[in-house]
Symmetry: C2
Subunit: 148 residues, 2 copies
């Protein structure tokens, strides 16, 4: 699957048109916000390159690009927590994707075993910011799932 | 307001601790996913630098960094669509923020006048991907609001 070149679109077509021309950044990546289709909960934020975006659309299973491992990252390949794609959306300037998924396995998108990676909120005390756990339970034990 | 240096945290403290040490990228930016606090709807995805993250926390009003204008972007300063911050969350490796807001004004976070920037979904026909409008109404007329 090939994607249209964003440079080929004028402003109106990019923002209001039907041509999908994802704008990958200087590293060839686009940000993906993954949400649970049923609840709208934000599960995680990660990145795709053109290859893994195509793989995701073709297979219906989420494939990201791991920036740390510099490799294709089929989400859940180790943990079993695959993500079945329900819908992809893009934004006005087509440089970001929201992906609605069904989270399989134990329902944990985060490698810490929690449903979502966003399990801490920022709390202010005067001009000091710290983090507080919002209480998402661990649905699996990472030490068991990711054993070497 | 100063933030802790992410390099000062070990892996466990970064992922499970209470120290807020946002990991800005090589350009000094962190990705922010902004959601409507009441509904959980994803309104937009943008970026903050340390200065605008501090401004946001101190003022309770969303301030982003405009990558195109290379300037502080107080959301809604032109359109009146200010965002009142309800809560900030960060993810396991602290390189992304989810911000829950009350969208003021006409309730349109997108410069096209729609509630959300994510108003088009990707549709597949064979191996060809195109975009389809999901039908979000325009809550203001951009030509009037952003007149030069």
């Amino acid at each position: 699957m090939k994607f249209s070149d964003p440079a080929s679109l004028d402003h109106a077509e990019r923002e209001e048109g039907t041509t999908f021309a994802p704008r990958f950044d200087a590293h060839g990546l686009i940000t993906v916000v993954t949400t649970e289709a049923d609840s709208g909960t934000i599960l995680m934020v990660a990145h795709m390159n053109a290859e893994t975006l195509a793989l995701t659309l073709e297979s219906g299973i989420a494939h990201y690009w791991s920036r740390s491992r510099k490799a294709i990252w089929k989400k859940g390949e180790t943990s079993g927590e695959l993500q079945e794609v329900v819908e992809l959306r893009t934004d006005c300037d087509q440089d970001c994707i929201v992906m609605l998924v069904r989270q399989t396995g134990r329902g944990a998108a985060c490698h810490t075993g929690r449903k979502s990676c966003f399990y801490r909120r920022v709390e202010m005390a005067g001009d000091k910011a710290s983090l507080a756990d919002i209480g998402l339970p661990r649905l699996f034990d990472p030490a068991t799932v990711y054993k070497r």
